[in-house]
Structures are given as C-alpha cells and as structure tokens.
C-alpha cells in the first residue's frame, strides 16, 4: 500500500528545530497524526532524544508515555543522522518503528531529515518518508508545503527558537522541561502563522 504522507507545518518546523538544536548529533522523535486510506497526515511530533544510538530505557519510557497520552494516533518515527553525508536508515529508528507497528497494530511510517537539504536556499523537501514494504523500507510520496512555508521557517530559525525546544532527554535531565513543547508550539503558530 503506497502511503501519501503530508506533514503539517507545525510538526515540520519542530522537526527542523530539533535538528538545529543539536547540529552535531543524530536526533530522534515520534510522529503523531491520523491515517485515512492511504493518506497519512502528521499533525504533531514529539522530540525524543539527540544521540544516534538511543538506548532501550528512554525510548520505551517515552513511547509508553506518549502512547498513553495519544493512543492510536502514534503514526511513526522521525530521525536524522549525525553525519550529513550519511543518508542510510538508522537501525534504532527502524526497530522503534517496527515496535510501534506491533503496538498500534497499523503500519508505522519513518521520516528521515535530509541534512544536506537544510541549507536555506534549497527548495526541495527536507523530509523524506519511508514505509515498510515486506521487510525493507521503501520511499513514499510526500506532500511538500511550498515556499511560503519555507520563508516562515527561515524567520523562526533567525529568531533561534530552537533553543527553547526540549526533548525527552532534556526532560530527564530536568523535569521542568516540557518535551511536548506546548509553549513553543503556541509561539511557532503565533510568530510564523503556521497552521497547527
């Protein structure tokens, strides 16, 4: 079944901000959204950790908490590799996606951030979606937001909002940090009129 993945503006920019907050590390996160037929809409994302080799305990804990809160609308995993020239699929992300597929009993999708396309003047889609086909992961179509969204993204990056983003690891370091980033999302919507 060929999925058609549409990432809304808010999760799209949160993913990019998560990559920018830890430029020299691989990042990981969960995707929230809903599925209708072969169309998957990603409405939110939760940054989990910022190391290319996340260990089982934080991943299990975070997925359990997020699953407890969002239930079946947990649709997949996003990740980015540390080395910009390395575009291979990260095996920890694949393992997590498979586990989500078993738990939510519906095929999970995998979104990879293409580091080399993050440069400001690139107009290609920064995110590439994959779906499980048999036991290998195939690339699927993604709906791209278009250039006005990119301009909004640039203003957010200029304001260095990525420093306010908190992922689950930051939460574990200091429980005051909210890894659902509710305050940041409101700010994003307000500043860059991103439809949430």
């Amino acid at each position: 079944m060929k999925f058609n993945v549409e990432t809304q503006a808010l999760p799209y920019s949160t993913i990019i901000l998560h990559c920018l907050k830890y430029p020299s590390k691989g990042v990981f996160g969960l995707l929230i959204g809903h599925k209708k037929g072969d169309k998957v809409t990603v409405t939110g994302c939760i940054p989990l950790c910022h190391e290319s080799t996340p260990l089982a305990p934080p991943l299990e804990l975070a997925t359990a908490l997020v699953h407890g809160k969002f239930g079946a609308s947990l649709v997949g995993v996003y990740f980015a590799n540390a080395n910009p020239s390395d575009t291979s699929l990260n095996m920890y992300a694949i393992r997590l996606a498979d586990k989500i597929t078993t738990v939510t009993s519906s095929p999970a999708i995998l979104i990879q951030v293409m580091n080399e396309r993050l440069v400001s003047d690139c107009d290609q889609d920064r995110l590439v979606a994959f779906e499980k086909d048999g036991d290998s992961w195939k690339e699927t179509k993604t709906l791209f937001q278009g250039s006005n969204f990119l301009r909004a993204l640039q203003t957010v990056i200029q304001k260095k909002l990525y420093r306010e983003l908190a992922d689950f690891e930051n939460h574990l370091d200091n429980p005051e940090a909210d890894f659902y980033n509710t305050n940041l999302s409101n700010k994003l919507v307000q500043i860059a009129e991103l439809r949430s």
Binding site: P23, S24, K25, A82, P84, N115, V119, N174
Partner: protein, 143 residues
C-alpha cells in the same frame, strides 16, 4: 513543629552551659578572695554542666540535616550530554557545516569534480588509465 522543639532544647542547653561556666569562674574568684585552696567545683555546677551538655548534643543531632552518603558524586549537577561528551574526539562533519554557505560552495566544487571524473571515465573506456587520472586528480584537489 518538631524542629522548633529541638531548636529550643539546643538554645536552652547552650545558655545553661554558659551559666555553668560563669558560675565556675565565680566560684574560683570566691575561693581566691577567701584564700581557700581550690579543690573541686560544687556538685550542682558539675551536674548542671553534664546535663546541659547532653541536652545540647541531643538537640543539635536533630537539627543537623540528614546524613549524606560519604562519597558524593562531585559533578552531580551535570546533564547527561555534558557527562557523556568526549571533547577530544570532536569531529566537524555536522549539520551546521552542511548548512553554511561557504561549505555549500566547497561541496558543489567537489560534485562537479566527481561528475567530470565519471564523464572522463566513460570517454577513455579503459578503467586503468582513468583510475590513475582519478587518483592523481584527487590528490591535486586536496592541495
């Protein structure tokens, strides 16, 4: 509530201890006035000193905050990133490099150079010759 009681006990026992010291000095001064040899302190002063000492120890032992594990972790306030970070092995192949304009120009230069090689390899059809060109060219581009 409880800690105020212990604080009270500590203060009272401290005061009574000072009072004992004062009365002991007073006793010595009295002995010297009446030129009597100093033998020992009067029983009540000794008793009061011992009791107030015990009360003081009892009070302060409750006021002191709970015992800590002897070997404290010296940099316990470090976050996980700081503790597990290896600064001497820092590498610079990261996202900020991929996004910076200067390196974008460097990268396009490398891509053109790679395309030239693949096209040159097709023309000469002899892998070995182009391999030597490739290796020599790559060393030049490194200079």
């Amino acid at each position: 509530m409880a800690s105020t009681i212990y604080r009270l006990i500590t203060i009272v026992s401290l005061l009574s201890l000072i009072h004992c010291a004062y009365s002991a000095a007073q006793h010595r001064f009295y002995l010297r006035l009446t030129e009597q040899p100093f033998v020992s302190l009067p029983a009540d002063v000794v008793a009061q000193t011992v009791i107030s000492l015990v009360a003081l120890i009892y009070g302060t032992s409750y006021l002191a905050n709970p015992f800590q594990y002897i070997k404290k972790d010296q940099h316990h306030d470090r976050t996980c990133d700081e503790a597990l970070n290896c600064p001497s092995f820092i590498t610079f192949e990261n996202r900020s490099k991929a996004m910076s304009p200067e390196f974008a120009m460097l990268r396009t230069l490398k891509q053109q150079q790679r395309q030239r090689q693949t096209s040159s390899r097709k023309e000469t059809h002899s892998g070995r010759v182009s391999e030597t060109i490739h290796s020599s060219e790559s060393t030049d581009s490194q200079e």
